[in-house]
Structure formats: C-alpha cells, structure tokens
Symmetry: C2
Subunit: 279 residues, 2 copies
Amino acid sequence: METVSTSKAHGGTLGVYRHDSAATGTPMTFSVFVPPQAAAGAKLPVLYYLSGLTCTHANVTDKGEYRRVCAELGVVFVAPDTSPRGDGVADDAAGAYDFGLGAGFYVNATVEPFARHYRMWDYIADELPALIAAEFPIDPARAGITGHSMGGHGALTLGLTFPDRFRSLSAFAPIVAPGQVPWGHKALAGYLGDDRAAWRAHDAVALIEDGRRPAGDILVDQGEADNFLVEQLRPELLRAAADAAGIALTLRLQPGYDHSYNFISTFMEDHVRWHAARL
Amino acid sequence: METVSTSKAHGGTLGVYRHDSAATGTPMTFSVFVPPQAAAGAKLPVLYYLSGLTCTHANVTDKGEYRRVCAELGVVFVAPDTSPRGDGVADDAAGAYDFGLGAGFYVNATVEPFARHYRMWDYIADELPALIAAEFPIDPARAGITGHSMGGHGALTLGLTFPDRFRSLSAFAPIVAPGQVPWGHKALAGYLGDDRAAWRAHDAVALIEDGRRPAGDILVDQGEADNFLVEQLRPELLRAAADAAGIALTLRLQPGYDHSYNFISTFMEDHVRWHAARL
C-alpha cells in the first residue's frame, strides 16, 4: 500500500492510499479518515462508504462532511473507488456515465470484456476490509457500511449478504431494486448477462425476498426532490420488502432535497451516529 | 443576476449565481448559502469568504463545511471568485498559478493589460455587497469578512480599510504582508507597478502601520505544518503590527495542520461562530 497524501483534519488524519488489487487486477485508490482517538492505541469501529455513479474516492472525501462527527465519535471512515481504472480496463462502448468506468455497481462481472477487472464485489467484501484491518487501527468486528445511489445499492446488497461482516447498515438515496429500474437493467445485463436469476444476488429487494436479512435495522434517507426518485430509486419497493420480511427499516423522505452532496452532507452526521451507536 | 443552480442543504439553500460585473467588465460567478432562518422573513448577517490562489467560488462551496453552522446560527455565506475570467481577460504570460486568472489579489490593477478587468477591490468592496443586499435577505449593516491565504489577505485589507462595511474580521492562513513576501512582490508589482507606496494600501501590516484599524478584534488561524508559513505567510509580522497598534488579534497556531481545506474546514465552525457573535 502506497500513501498518496495525508493531511490533518478535525484532529485526525485524512489519507489517500493506493494499492495493487488482486481482486480487480488494477491499482485501486481510496481515502481513509482516522479520528484522533486512534492516537491512544484504540481499535476503532470502521464505516465503509460506497460512492455513486461517476464518483471516485474523492467526491465524498471532498464534499461528504463526515470528518467532524467521525472525530467526535471515534469512527474510521473508508471511501473506495467505484470501479477499476487504468490501462486495459474496459469501458462502456459509448462512454456512458452509468456503465463501465465509475460505474462498477459492486458486482463481480461475468460478461467479457468486463469479467477480467470488474470485480468490485470481491474487492469491497474481502480484499479492502482485509487491507484496512492490516494497515489501520480498526476492529474488524465493528464494521458498518453505507453508500449513495449506486453505492447505496452496494451497501444494501453487501450488508444483506454479509451481516456478519457489516454489522450496521444505511444508505443515501439507494438504488434498491436494480432488477426493476433502467440503471440496474443496463448494469446487471452488461456485467452479469441476461439470466435474471443471477441478478437477484445484486438486488436488495430480491435478496430480502430470497430470505437474506441484515445484521440489524436499516436507515435510508431519500430526498423528495431527487430527479431519480421515481424512475431509478423507488424506495417504496424497499419499504414493502422490508415490511413483508419484518426488517426494521427507517426510511426518511426528506422534503426539498435532491440527489447531490448537499443532500448527503446534510444527513451524513445522522448516518455516522446511526452506525457508531450500533458498532 | 442569473441563477445557475440551487440545492437544498442543511435546511437552507445553496445557490450559484452569475452576473455581469460593472467593476470587472466580465461575468462573475459566486455562491450564496441562505440558512433556513430566512424563511421567516428575517434580514440576516452575512459573511463574505474570499478564496485563495487557483480557486473559484466552488472550492470553499464544496469543501468548506460551513453550511451546518451557518444554518444553526442564521448566517448568509457568500463565496465570490478570485479573479475576472473569460474572453479578453489577461493572464500571467507563463500561466503561473500565482498571478492572473485565479489570482486577482483583491486589488484594482493599474498596470496594463490587467487594469481593464482586474478590479477585484471594487468588486468585493462595493459591487458584490450591493448586489447581495438587493437580491438576498441580508442586513448590510451586519457584514463580516474572512478568507484563506490570498483571500485572507483580501479579508484583512478590506476589513482594515472599510471597518464600517465589514464589522467582523478573520482569516485562515492569510498573506499578512504581501510587500514583504514573494507572492506579494510578484502580484503587487504586476498589478500596481513598482511604486511601493501604492502597495501599502494592499498590505495588512502596512495598513496597520499607517493607522488603519479594524472594526473590532481579529481572529487568525494558521497551520504550523503549512508549507507556505515561513516564506509567504509570516503571521509573526501581523502579530507584531497588531501588538504595536493595540489591535486585539487572536492568532492561533494550529499544530499539524497544512494549507488545505482540511485545515480550513476544521476551523470553519470557529470562524462562523466568531463572526455571528459580532454581527
């Protein structure tokens, strides 16, 4: 692991790091905020934040406004990239924003030419947490996961599949049912092929229907002025699936908020507190 | 004035606006955060934040972490650009980062080819406050000013020159004595010519020596790990000038902090509270 940069922030350290990922076969860059409590030698809880379409690690690092509350509560915050990048990594043939680079959808692709590098599921579920546990002062038994939009989809699917690894779960404006919306149709068909049975492992609503359960309750915030609400996000599908399964879902529709980091940064403190209370 | 975008944030509205500036003879873009208290019809205090070298309005807007505390305290936050831009606006001949575009140094240039558009002093002192008072729910008698690096220089020189307009004053890692440091030599010579007497109106330490006084006390934060501290920023010169003049200066040297927005965002809350308490 190579240190790209470090900078003191809110009493802790904001670092950007790069490593050669075995999962993706590419260099991967991520940021980690280590709060000041680490100086006392503590092993701290860790929150993984998965970003949305077009983002790198830098978007939430710059705009997420998480450092102050992480410093207050003693939470390590990890922000990975959203896809493999670099020489030889296939992109959408038309350069679309919603597939390929910046749009890995947190799956292991099985369709060429994406299968070689697009293995974000293994990267987030296995490789990155192992690296973080080895290199940073965290307690791997106290890990939570959240994310925005495509990253909210990733957080929900990973949290539902590995409740033993991700002990707390939340999302900002997540894609809750990619099998039922255009973004998801394109991504899941492109990465996993046309067999819709294979899609269900990467669809939070389908995972719940198929019996998966999170470690505990789930917090979801969703802006009511979000341009993607009706067509792509459809939180009512998660509401219905959670209710049918008896999952405790706190779904908050936030009047006037859009899909941007102005929305995310407003509610970030609530999410960090949600995770800290459960870790 | 044209609205470029608006977005709800922390209960208020973050907007980006553009207008044709009479001062600079160019379109100018700025951001304004209006906190939720404006909904009740209140005329609110306003804080101007002047950015540093290479920045536009967008840097502090994305990374400054000021919205939460402005929303708590009911402060309008205005972030202008750092220079004129566009067709016909001269730039540094070599494209340097510290002169020309993104580096207006908050002066009215008298040297061609800069004199035509580089009139950031008039823009910040007169034109922008008049526009803000006309278009936003602010009380112009309750205006404060702050800024970072080159923008800290602008805040100090404007605050010292117009204590009746800027009733509260602070800065992050400001250039306190441009007449005594390389960034300032280059900028003041380039914009104002070689007559050093003319420079003194744009040098906070010289302004204090020449009898100018701020409306009240001054808060300055400076990171001790700032790469520019020793050569370009030299807060000890402001300390000495303030002490000699009997100006109440709170100068805080912050161990471990660098020159970045990680530093600014850490101490932004303290600065907004400082201004709100005085406005």
